[in-house]
């Protein structure tokens, strides 16, 4: 499966990853319409954190041991066996936030309007997700990640 990684040393904290994530998940792919004219703003599934000169962009990492999948009360959160992605079945999700309580990255949030949990969906199968495609400094990039499901007691990989 492909995973999104971050080089925080070149992230300038501009927030464009959030903006293009919002746009990608809006009902209309026009910035003005999506942000100004069509009801509530779409929600970003990525989050920029910044402190002084340090910044990075955070989203679901599709963990090898996905606590959200294990904790989900309804079976809405599963790993797609083909793509390896953790997905939320909106019909089954009751928006109870149990997944949010166990996610070590804080990468799942609640869509309060629809009372569903949302997370990075890799732009629904796009080759290059919107956040990566629009990162002005290539701080975000995709890497093919092998054997995600095979590992049970994964070693801690060296930090990005």
């Amino acid at each position: 499966m492909r995973k999104i990684y971050i080089k925080e040393e070149v992230c300038i904290g501009c927030g464009l990853c959030e903006v293009y994530c919002q746009l990608q998940h809006a009902s209309v792919h026009d910035l003005i319409k999506a942000f100004k004219k069509r009801g509530p703003r779409p929600l970003a599934r990525a989050r920029v954190e910044a402190k002084g000169n340090l910044s990075f962009s955070v989203r679901c990492r599709n963990c090898d041991e996905p606590q959200c999948v294990y904790a989900c009360l309804t079976g809405a959160i599963t790993r797609d066996t083909e793509s390896g992605m953790i997905t939320v079945d909106e019909e089954k999700c009751i928006g109870c936030c149990t997944c949010m309580l166990v996610c070590p990255l804080g990468a799942i949030k609640q869509d309060k309007e629809h009372k569903k949990m949302i997370k990075c969906d890799f732009c629904q199968g796009e080759e290059t997700p919107a956040c990566v495609a629009n990162c002005p400094n290539e701080a975000l990039f995709c890497v093919e990640y092998e054997g995600a499901e095979k590992k049970v007691t994964a070693e801690i990989p060296s930090p990005v």
Partner: protein
């Protein structure tokens, strides 16, 4: 003597724990025979969703926790609607109420909990229910259809009691909750958040009576409930009673065997009982709680799955430690969002509490010696998982604890070593404390 069928992995109980075990076993062993037995006559359903079913928000075909072809896809043989009546530990054999006998190589006891029904006079009357299974929800649903004017007394203001209250109010049933302690949800919420829920419940039209118990359920000559009498002698007329005091481990199969039991079945870090080859998980098991650092009952769905998963991996020969669980709850009753985990109030003065509280936002941490031992968040529960995982991984937060209750808490609230680790990967079954501390 007739030959007993022998199964490699026998699982008793078809809910979160049993399914967690199946999924784990199949990651390791794709061909070993698995049989799952349950006295409930249907494929696995999400137990927490029975409140949505009773509320009329969800139909019965939408309760499934896994796809309907789950058992077929995983090559599981199912025995549903049959009860295991006896364990024979000498011959590794179970007996079912159908007369069938099944032998096992590895056995998982995932029998769950059973509702606590105190010996209140009149509890056998018609119209008296518990609320932990799909069958319970359907029985209450049928009863409401027959008696749409019946109002309800809910005995117990815990999670089950508040949950059934919300469902009943959705069905236009009037509800009075009787809570023995001085506040509802007292096991999982602190005073502040409990009072928020109290207000939300009352605003929705239910009544709450605290500090009292039901001493008698009153039935008429037809054996149907018409009211309850409280310990102070006052009488509340009602057409139905829901007993929602809590659950206790369902231990009847192991009582009288050599399997060690304390409050639940005692398991080690592999979720194995005192008898090698026999495992237990979920509401029936007393497994490691990382907050109290001892075995405890933590009857919540996520722990059942994780315990079942750990048991399954070990049963299939992949040695794996249970990362531990603690009492975690996430609730949204009557639109009030609250999450809590671990301790909810400081047990004594050796613990610190740090709290922020402004507008609708309330965040409280309980700490001891720099380690988080409990959390209660309301209003803004976003990113609560960042804090929960600090608690689980026993990371000392003394130097940055104040930043954890701010509105903009994030990974950058944590020391660099920790956020780098979080960004690189997520916690694994073996935990990460050694690499961080």
């Amino acid at each position: 003597m007739e030959k007993t069928e022998r199964i490699k992995y026998l699982i008793i109980g078809n809910s979160a724990g049993g399914i967690g075990a199946i999924e784990a076993i199949r990651e390791v062993d794709t061909s070993g025979t698995i049989t799952i037995v349950s006295d409930e006559p249907y494929p696995v359903y999400s137990r927490p969703l029975i409140s949505d079913l009773l509320a009329g928000k969800r139909t019965i075909d939408k309760l499934n926790y896994r796809p309907f072809d789950f058992y077929e896809q995983n090559r599981i043989s199912t025995i549903f609607g049959n009860r295991v009546t006896k364990l024979d530990l000498t011959n590794n054999t179970v007996f079912l109420d159908s007369g069938q006998k099944i032998g096992w190589d590895k056995l998982l006891l995932a029998t769950g909990g059973t509702p606590i029904v105190p010996p209140i006079e009149g509890r056998e009357a018609g119209g008296v229910f518990t609320f932990t299974t799909l069958a319970d929800a359907r029985a209450i649903d049928d009863y409401i259809r027959q008696k749409p004017d019946a109002n309800a007394v809910v005995i117990g203001g815990g999670l089950i009691g508040v949950s059934v209250t919300e469902s009943l109010l959705n069905r236009q049933v009037k509800v009075t909750i009787i809570e023995m302690k001085d506040r509802i949800l007292n096991v999982i919420l602190d005073e502040k958040t409990s009072s928020m829920e109290d207000k939300a419940v009352r605003d929705s039209g239910a009544e709450i009576i605290t500090g009292h118990t039901v001493s008698k359920i009153n039935g008429n000559t037809h054996g149907e409930v018409y009211g309850v009498t409280l310990d102070n002698g006052s009488v509340i007329p009602c057409g139905m009673v829901i007993i929602a005091i809590g659950v206790r481990p369902r231990l009847e199969l192991v009582s009288g065997t050599d399997i060690r039991v304390n409050r639940g079945i005692v398991v080690d870090k592999h979720m194995e009982t005192s008898i090698p080859g026999i495992y237990a998980c979920g509401d029936v098991a007393e497994a490691y709680d990382f907050v109290y650092r001892e075995n405890r009952l933590t009857p919540v769905w996520p722990n059942a799955y994780l315990g079942g998963r750990t048991a399954g991996l070990n049963m299939a020969g992949k040695e794996t430690d249970y990362p531990g669980g603690t009492n975690i709850n996430s609730m949204k009753y009557f639109g009030v969002y609250i999450v809590s985990a671990g301790m909810i109030v400081a047990p004594d003065t050796t613990y610190d509490e740090i709290i922020t509280n402004h507008e609708d936002i309330y965040k409280k941490l309980i700490l001891k010696d720099g380690l988080i031992t409990g959390m209660v968040f309301s209003g803004d529960v976003d990113r609560a998982g960042i804090i929960y995982n600090l608690m689980r991984d026993r990371i000392n937060v003394e130097s940055f604890k104040q930043s954890l209750v701010t509105d903009d808490v994030g990974l950058l609230s944590l020391p660099e070593k920790v956020w780098r680790n979080r960004l690189a990967t997520a916690p694994v079954v073996n935990g990460i404390e050694n690499s961080i501390n």
